[in-house]
């Protein structure tokens, strides 16, 4: 490293400061431990200056290095015949036939969204979209999995409103439909909300772009928006717990500009259609640092950058600020030498910055110049290879206590419970939220926002004279209260519910992206939640042949030592060959409803960890409903076969709130009624009968309600295939739900309270 002298001080005083040798105090201020600081000094054989240390601290942050989870992430199933690219790239890629590939990923923006909900959520959407189009795919759908604190907390309303506006603000403007997702409320998220955004894109199978740098001497290009002082050290901020002073971290939140995002999207896709791009990487977390280091590292090469050439928004930015800024809407590319002019024309057309800022080298080092001085010279390898990997102690706590129905105190009638269920913000309609998202732009949305269990998008350009073409079904799922009680079981359940949702919309489940949201991994029980859910997810994913192809980990979701419910969100993608055959959840009149996966003899439902238990006894406790993978796989197979035979008219997975809740949801849209055919044992019960309650509201897994006009054929097929079923009854126009002589419930009243809950909270 060149000696720093008075000249640099005269040119740029702040840069001179950044070139001073760092100390352990600096390291700790950047979130590094003493061991990590010593490791860095050893590996690079010098004491780093502040810029170099900043680069290390960003790369070693939990957010970039996955240091607490890497050991376990490696154990997940990531391969299958249809997987083109698994974890490790900007997004996962699967083969969906016809020479097409689906490119998708989910990513969290939890910490920034709590500090600044609008910008945090907006840049979450922007970031995940860049991850997808960096791979050469045009984004075709967005989903988001949101978790907020208690609805009665005054802050919750502000956060919901800001996050929803932010998601819409970015997605609506850039013109990608937001088609689904989930929103839940629980007091454990009071101090740490979760904002997980998922994007799906479409590419030609043989036109996927990767990030590994190639060819020493090739030009390194910076495109997109200018670099500003926003979001500096965002990745580090996202890797610590919150305290009461976290609002001081507002400057670490990035600011999104969907308009520039749209221009960047169009310019990149236009450039990628020419034969000039060798590799490309989005500047996401840790900005120019992680993009340059990752590209060089993956290509086993080095990189030289002249930071004076980086387009900046502000004067006299230091190398430290330029390298650690998380300004949005920027990309780093390596082009074929000689194609710079041609590429620049495209970016000029879209009024975006385009700058050659350096070149790929053979040195294996990251070398940065600024103001005529060498300001950073460090080996690339230790930044990635030597990033710490911790085998943190863990304890998986599985609640094995099976709650029996007679242990519950019964306070309410069936009618009252149903009313309370649809007043529960976790079940009730999320219309207030999804009406703020443009769900139909691009003209390919077939089903969105709960019309079917998974959202369905038509694949543009696959239509022919016989069919509207291919489609993909997408869902996000997780039931955190199950994961809390039993992480392994909860992990399996999230995968199975996602698969059931995809199948219930008529699609074959294909692959997963996951977003693992947890508290502080340095605590044994939380590390146990992480390890347990990864085990559960892995087991179910390999059983159902839906490998994990991309994902994101968000840890330290804690405030003042209190962690969130463990929330490993599963985003699943499935494929439908003829998209017009997708299944809705809304039943039609004169259809028979039957439950797949539930027998005639079944009367005692699983009440532990259920919404019902919470309503009756204000507590969520006991073992969650067990998951039988064989049964889950079978039910999906049979459902898809029945559907291929065109025997089904609707399908809806039984989940939160149990079978009666699911049944009501199927009747809402078309204002239908049903005389429920109760099992014989329950015919004589009254409206406060515990067994009846458990049958109505138990959350046993592996069940889907389907509707059919051809009940005889369906019965025959199910009997031949040896799958349990239970006939619930035939829908009618009465708008009443009759439970034998026990009670009659007006569906329209439930439908109204279902629609009113969220607007009331937000008013």
């Amino acid at each position: 490293m060149k000696i720093l002298n008075q000249d640099l001080y005269n040119i740029n005083k702040n840069e001179y400061q950044a070139q001073q040798k760092s100390t352990l105090v600096d390291a700790k201020g950047m979130g590094l431990t003493e061991d990590e600081f010593n490791l860095i000094c050893n590996k690079i054989k010098k004491i780093p200056n502040k810029t170099e240390l900043g680069i290390f601290s960003a790369m070693f942050s939990e957010h970039c290095s996955y240091k607490s989870s890497k050991k376990w992430l490696k154990t997940m199933p990531t391969k299958a015949k249809h997987v083109i690219q698994g974890p490790g790239e900007n997004a996962g890629v699967i083969d969906i036939g016809d020479n097409l590939a689906a490119v998708f990923k989910i990513e969290s923006h939890n910490h920034p969204s709590f500090i600044e909900p609008y910008q945090g959520a907006a840049t979450g959407v922007g970031g995940i979209l860049r991850d997808v189009f960096t791979m050469g795919a045009r984004p075709i759908a967005l989903l988001n999995a949101l978790r907020f604190g208690s609805p009665t907390e005054p802050l919750t309303k502000h956060l919901v409103s800001g996050v929803v506006k932010g998601i819409g603000g970015y997605g609506n403007c850039i013109g990608i439909p937001t088609v689904g997702g989930e929103t839940n409320f629980d007091k454990s998220y009071d101090g740490n909300i979760l904002v997980n955004a998922m994007a799906v894109g479409l590419a030609n199978k043989d036109r996927i772009f990767y990030s590994a740098a190639t060819g020493s001497g090739n030009p390194v290009i910076y495109v997109g928006a200018k670099t500003g002082r926003d979001g500096i050290h965002g990745a580090t901020m996202a890797s610590t717990e919150f305290t009461d002073n976290s609002s001081e971290k507002r400057p670490t939140v990035q600011v999104g500009d969907p308009f520039t995002g749209k221009l960047l999207l169009e310019a990149c896709l236009e450039l990628m259609s020419t034969d000039t791009v060798l590799s490309i990487q989005d500047m996401g977390a840790a900005g120019l640092t992680s993009s340059s280091v990752e590209m060089a590292s993956k290509g086993s090469l080095g990189m030289y950058l002249n930071l004076d050439l980086v387009p900046t928004r502000e004067d006299k930015m230091t190398s430290y600020e330029i390298m650690l800024s998380e300004s949005q809407e920027r990309m780093l590319m390596i082009l074929k030498p000689g194609s710079e002019e041609k590429a620049k024309l495209i970016f000029d057309k879209w009024d975006l910055d385009f700058a050659v800022i350096g070149e790929v080298t053979k040195t294996g080092r990251l070398i940065l110049d600024k103001d005529g001085f060498e300001v950073c010279n460090i080996p690339i390898n230790p930044l990635v290879e030597d990033a710490p990997e911790y085998d943190r102690p863990y304890e998986i706590i599985q609640n094995k206590n099976i709650i029996k129905i007679n242990e519950l105190k019964i306070n309410y009638t069936v009618d009252e419970i149903l009313a309370k269920i649809f007043e529960n913000p976790n079940i009730s309609s999320k219309r207030w939220i999804w009406e703020q998202y443009d769900s139909s732009v691009m003209g390919d949305t077939i089903s969105s926002n709960g019309k079917s269990d998974a959202s369905v998008i038509k694949i543009h350009g696959t239509e022919n004279s016989k069919s509207l073409g291919k489609g993909i079904a997408i869902t996000t799922d997780c039931t955190p209260r199950y994961v809390k009680s039993d992480p392994i079981n909860g992990g399996m359940q999230a995968v199975c519910e996602a698969a059931r949702n995809v199948a219930a919309s008529g699609a074959k489940p294909m692959a997963i992206t996951n977003n693992l949201n947890f508290g502080n991994p340095e605590k044994k029980n939380i590390m146990g939640e992480i390890v347990g859910s990864i085990k559960g997810i892995s087991k179910a994913a390999s059983f159902l042949n839906t490998p994990i192809v991309s994902g994101n980990v968000s840890l330290y979701n804690e405030t003042n030592g209190k962690g969130i419910l463990p929330t490993p969100v599963i985003g699943m993608v499935g494929v439908i060959d003829q998209v017009e055959n997708c299944l809705e959840m809304n039943a039609k009149e004169d259809n028979t409803l039957l439950i797949l996966g539930q027998s005639e003899n079944f009367t005692q439902g699983w009440v532990g960890c259920s919404i019902y238990q919470e309503i009756e006894n204000k507590i969520i406790d006991g073992a969650p409903p067990p998951v039988n993978l064989e049964k889950e796989r079978k039910i999906i197979e049979i459902l898809l076969k029945l559907h291929t035979k065109k025997l089904l008219t609707a399908a809806h997975d039984i989940s939160d709130g149990g079978l009666l809740t699911t049944t009501c949801e199927m009747l809402f849209k078309n204002n239908l009624g049903l005389n429920v055919n109760l099992p014989k044992l329950l015919l004589k019960s009254d409206s406060k009968d515990p067994i009846l309650h458990s049958w109505c509201f138990g959350e046993d897994q592996g069940r889907i309600i389907v509707a059919t006009q051809k009940i005889d054929k369906v019965k025959l097929f199910l009997e031949k295939n040896n799958l349990d079923y239970f006939i619930l009854g035939k829908t009618n126009a009465s708008n009443n739900l009759n439970l034998s002589d026990i009670t009659t419930i007006c569906i329209n009243n439930l439908k109204n309270s279902n629609e009113k809950t969220l607007p009331y909270i937000m008013s």
Binding site: D257, Q436, G443
Partner: protein, 230 residues
């Protein structure tokens, strides 16, 4: 029929209307880049929805000052037909081609949902003449600034001149607000004095297949084109 679709930076429904026009006319419309000024003579120009120039300043304000607008004005003075959808409607107003203004939705929230439109009794217009017998159209909206606002004088003038094209109307059995943005007199679209320029907030290009969104948009566009080519 020769048609064109304008493209501004930030337009995002250009592809959708191109797909719809191709479906109806069998021929892809030409793309009209905002900086270009020379185009062949066209029968119809569509200004699509989106967020031209990121909605900076005001929705449609910067697009209304783009070079391509002069071409559109020339086209109109030749008697050409223009359809502005959503942001296209906002641009037509900002360019002074249609009167009134489009302000933020009454609830201050972006709103995306299906709406039911009632076709009004209008002056002769290629966009409406083929539809007289149809009373209603179900077409979705998706916007943040679609609240049509005008003085009493202008509202009366529009009504008396038969220039109100569509109004939002109530669905039976549905108690959600039928007017998604709080527009004056429930106005969803208006015509120019000669009836050949239509600005509307709903997106007909999003209602062109029967498994999602319905086909009322297709019906509207098809009838319009039949009238335009005469």
């Amino acid at each position: 029929m020769r048609s064109g679709v304008t493209i501004f930076p930030g337009s995002n429904c250009d592809r959708d209307i191109i797909v719809a026009l191709k479906k109806i006319t069998g021929k892809a419309p030409i793309k009209m880049w905002h900086k270009d000024i020379e185009f062949p003579n066209l029968d119809l120009i569509v200004i699509p929805g989106g967020f031209s120039f990121g909605d900076y300043l005001r929705c449609g304000a910067l697009a209304a000052r783009s070079p391509v607008i002069q071409n559109i004005k020339n086209h109109i003075s030749r008697g050409g037909a223009v359809l502005g959808i959503c942001n296209g409607f906002q641009i037509l107003i900002e360019a002074g081609i249609l009167p009134g203004s489009l302000i933020r939705n009454k609830k201050l929230l972006f709103t995306c949902r299906d709406t039911k439109l009632e076709i009004q009794d209008t002056i002769v217009s290629p966009f409406l003449s083929g539809l007289k017998k149809e009373l209603h159209l179900n077409i979705p909206v998706a916007h943040n600034e679609g609240n049509f606002f005008a003085s009493e004088t202008l509202l009366n003038e529009l009504k008396n001149d038969g220039r109100i094209a569509f109004k939002y109307i109530k669905e039976i059995n549905n108690d959600i607000d039928y007017n998604p943005n709080g527009s004056s007199n429930d106005i969803a679209g208006i015509l120019s004095k000669n009836g050949r320029v239509l600005g509307m907030m709903p997106h007909p290009e999003r209602a062109i297949n029967n498994i999602h969104g319905g086909t009322d948009g297709l019906k509207f566009l098809t009838k319009s084109f039949e009238q335009i080519i005469g």
